[in-house]
Structure formats: structure tokens, C-alpha cells
Subunit: 242 residues, 2 copies
DNA sequence: TAGTTACAGACTTATATAAGACTACTTGAC
DNA sequence: GTCAAGTAGTCTTATATAAGTCTGTAACTA
């Protein structure tokens, strides 16, 4: 409940947490508009400015999106957002390229110890494994190995695995109600294996950029482990430090 | 001048730009406190809340730093900030390690075409070139090649080049009045040259992570080009996407 | 009549101000 | 030295007004 007074959390923080809870719980779905600042303020017994401050912080975290004159909306994963926010590989000129994807395999397995650790699962838990090659500027450039906790993607097997969409986060959201909100990436340089080499048309031993990403929901629980191995001859990973 | 009324920019944006100008111009130096919100509001003829909103945005950009009960300060580069904000190499456990550095060479040259382009200089402009090896967890892990525009670092040669400080951004700020505020990085996987290999105790051809960074001031003008080649056997580059 | 434009009103977020609460440092009494 | 009050800073909340967006209806045109 919202409480005011000495020693209590500031109102706007209580309200921010309340809004997060509503979204995590699924009361408000991605793409939906939330009640107006005025409505919320009356409902919660605080002023519009206080609700506004709470909302502002969530807009900064990319949880909400405001449109003046229209309302405030829960962020969703259109492919634009996925491309601009989560995809950091660009071409030599620094332009973002929409990748396309060819799925090589898609099957269920047991998690290895390392996978279980990174996804916070029990050892040998049920997982889904996807392997695909991605073309950038129409040449094969990345090999992705994606690991998903089986229990979060129950009806996965009903999908046409040969024809998965290009941007998976949109799929997670629409089909499984799971919204990826943030991610932690580790980057390393590795040597291409023979397998890598044949898929990417290069020689074994060629240096590849390996990106290991754990994608998280709003409440920080891991949902996807993705290992990408990229040929950085004509593309590179771009990061801006602000 | 601050102007209100129809068609004018919002007050808080005008004030934000004014504050940025003051800082860029050097009226307020890194580490200094700026006038209080109340003083500024009186001086500028707006309310405290409006000044506050302008300041808030600059705090989010890491330009200013607030301390409740004390004041608002221009951000400066203590080595902590450099380490946490600009240094993304961590050990296998994800812990930040303070690197140490050994300078190999430090001399003046003419800029190559590529360097001039990235630093927005004229071809063959005067530059300073620093090469150093950095140890992480007491083993040689990175080779850095740093390029600085000569005209911005006039008295550089008076420094003891064999004994440069570990965190250069602090030096730029204190000795030359240049504050690094943001940076753009490009990451690639490359093969170690013989030279790399001998410095890092590994075999030629070993994959290295190459980080090419252009560091910028508050008004986006490039100040440093830094190419780091890292052995990612025991360390990796960490990036969080929010 | 059917279709289109103009405009008013309702509802939304955005901006600006003011007042009091909280926090850290300083000063002075003891 | 220690403690308490004072001072000067930021932080929180509330209120009022501006500006943007959509919808329905009245007026106008073909």
C-alpha cells in the first residue's frame, strides 16, 4: 500500500514499484496504454506530478513510452527496437543492417552445468536449443546458438522450427508473454572451429568475435542464453559509452 | 538569453544548454561545485524546479553530480570513474581489475589518413603516439596504441613519458583541461601479429579482441583514438544493455 | 444524399512554480 | 572535545497552466 510520512519511501518510488509490479504481473500488456497520469493520481491518492515522476523513471528504463496527447504505453518489441537496442553489429560504415537467419537445428536437450548456471536452472533441466546462421549484407556472418529454458516456452514444439521469425524477442513476447528488457553481454575473441569455418566460408582458426549474451526480463530473471560467433572482417560490434 | 513565451524553447532546455556552455567554456571546472539551485533560479529569473529539471538531465548524462545537503558538482575523472565507466575488461568472474601499464614508446608523428579522419584533423597533422602494454591480474593482457592531437596537448613533451599515470583521462583533465565525457567503440576479432605475440606471451595468430575507441569531449569533439588488442583467454569485455 | 472540411471539446502529456522536508556541514556554547 | 542549533544545499510533493491528439458534430460542397 502507498504510505506517506517520516521515514517512509518517497511516494514516487512506491508508485514506480507498483507500476513495475503491474507490468511484471501482466495486468498491463506490452503495447497497451496504461491509465492516464490523472487517473492514476486519483486512484492512488497522490498528485499528477508524483505519478509523473514515477513514470518518467520507467520511461528512462525503456519500460514505458510516452506520447504527448495520446497516453503512456508499455514498451513492446517491434523489430525496430530489437534492431536498434539489442543488435550491435554494424557494417564498416557504421550502418545497422537487418540480418536474415537460417535455422540449422532446433531441438530439446538437457542443460549442461554451465548453461544451467547462466540461466539459473537446475542441472540437466529441460532446455530448447536453436542453432542458426545469420547473413549480414547477404553473406553468412554469424553463427548463433540459443538456449531457452523449456518450462518458459511450453508450446515451442508447435512452432514451425524451420521458419522461425528473424527477430526472436518479438516471438517470445507475442507467443509466450515473455518480454526481454535488458541483457548482459561478454565479448571474446576465439578461433573458428572447422564447423564454424564451413558455415561462414572461411578458414578454421580465423579469429571470430564471440558474444555471449544472457537476456533478462524486467525482474532480472534470465530467459535466454545466446552465443554468437561473428566474422568481423566486414562488420564490427559497436558500443557507445555515455 | 533566457526567453519565455510562445514558440520559444522550454525554459529548462534553454537553461540546460546554458549550463553546458558554462562547463564547456571552463567557467566551472571539473570537481567544482556550481551555484545552488536557488541561486541559479534567482539569477536566471526562473523557479528552482525549472533549474532542477535542467540539472537533472545533466546528471543523467554524467556531466554533473549531485550530493544532497552539499551541492551540485561538475563531474571529474577520478580513477574510480575511469575504471567503472570507461574500462570494460573484467576477469572471468566478472570482477573489475585495476590494470597497470608499461609505456613502450611515446613520440610525435604525423597523422595517417585514417587517424586524421577519426580525430577530425588535417592529413599529416601533428599527433602524439603512445604505445603501452597493460597487465591485468599481473599478466600482460592488452597492447594499447593511443593517438592524441598534438595541438590539444601542447606541453606533452615536458611529461616524464616513461612514467605516465595509469589512467590517462585523469591526466588529460588535470594537466590539459580536457575532460573525456563519452566514447564510441568498435570491437573486432583479429589475429595476433608477431609483435603482439611476443609482448603478450602467446603465439602469433592467436585471436585477440581489438577495441578501437574514439573518446569525445562534452561537445562531441574527438580527443583520443585508442586501439587496444586484448588477450581474452582469462578476461573478457563486458557490456550491459539496458 | 454522400462526402469532406472546420472546429469545439475532452482527454492526454509537458512545463513551470511554490512550499515544505530532508541532509550535511558549520558555528558557537559549554 | 562534545553536542546542539543554525544554515545552506538538494529532494519531494502539490498545483496550475500549456500544448498535443483524437473524436464527434455542424457546416459546407459536389
Amino acid at each position: 500500500m502507498i504510505t506517506a510520512g517520516k521515514g517512509a519511501m518517497p511516494l514516487y518510488i512506491q508508485i514506480r514499484e507498483l507500476l513495475i509490479a503491474k507490468i511484471s504481473k501482466g495486468d498491463w500488456l506490452p503495447g497497451d496504454s496504461i491509465p492516464s497520469e490523472m487517473n492514476l493520481s486519483q486512484e492512488l491518492g497522490v498528485s499528477q506530478g508524483t505519478v509523473r515522476k514515477a513514470i518518467t523513471e520507467l520511461v528512462e528504463y525503456n519500460v514505458l513510452r510516452r506520447k504527448q496527447g495520446r497516453g503512456t504505453f508499455v514498451s513492446n518489441h517491434d523489430s525496430q527496437r530489437a534492431l536498434f537496442h539489442f543488435f550491435h553489429i554494424v557494417d564498416a560504415k557504421g550502418h545497422r543492417v537487418m540480418p536474415d537467419s537460417k535455422v540449422l537445428r532446433c531441438h530439446r536437450r538437457h542443460a549442461s552445468h554451465g548453461e544451467a548456471l547462466k540461466l539459473k536452472l537446475k542441472d540437466r533441466a529441460d532446455i530448447i536449443r536453436i542453432e542458426r546462421v545469420r547473413n549480414l549484407s547477404s553473406s553468412p556472418t554469424m553463427i548463433e546458438t540459443i538456449t531457452l529454458p523449456g518450462h518458459l516456452f511450453k508450446d515451442w514444439d508447435e512452432l514451425d522450427s524451420g521458419n522461425l521469425p528473424n527477430m526472436l524477442y518479438e516471438l517470445y513476447e507475442k507467443q509466450f508473454g515473455i518480454t526481454i528488457h535488458s541483457a548482459e553481454e561478454q565479448l571474446r575473441a576465439v578461433a573458428a572451429t572447422k564447423h564454424d569455418a564451413s558455415l561462414l566460408n572461411l578458414q578454421a582458426g580465423t579469429p571470430l568475435l564471440e558474444i555471449e549474451r544472457v537476456a533478462l526480463t524486467l525482474n532480472k530473471s534470465p530467459v535466454e542464453l545466446r552465443i554468437s560467433r561473428c566474422n568481423t572482417k566486414k562488420h564490427h560490434y559497436e558500443n557507445t559509452i555515455l
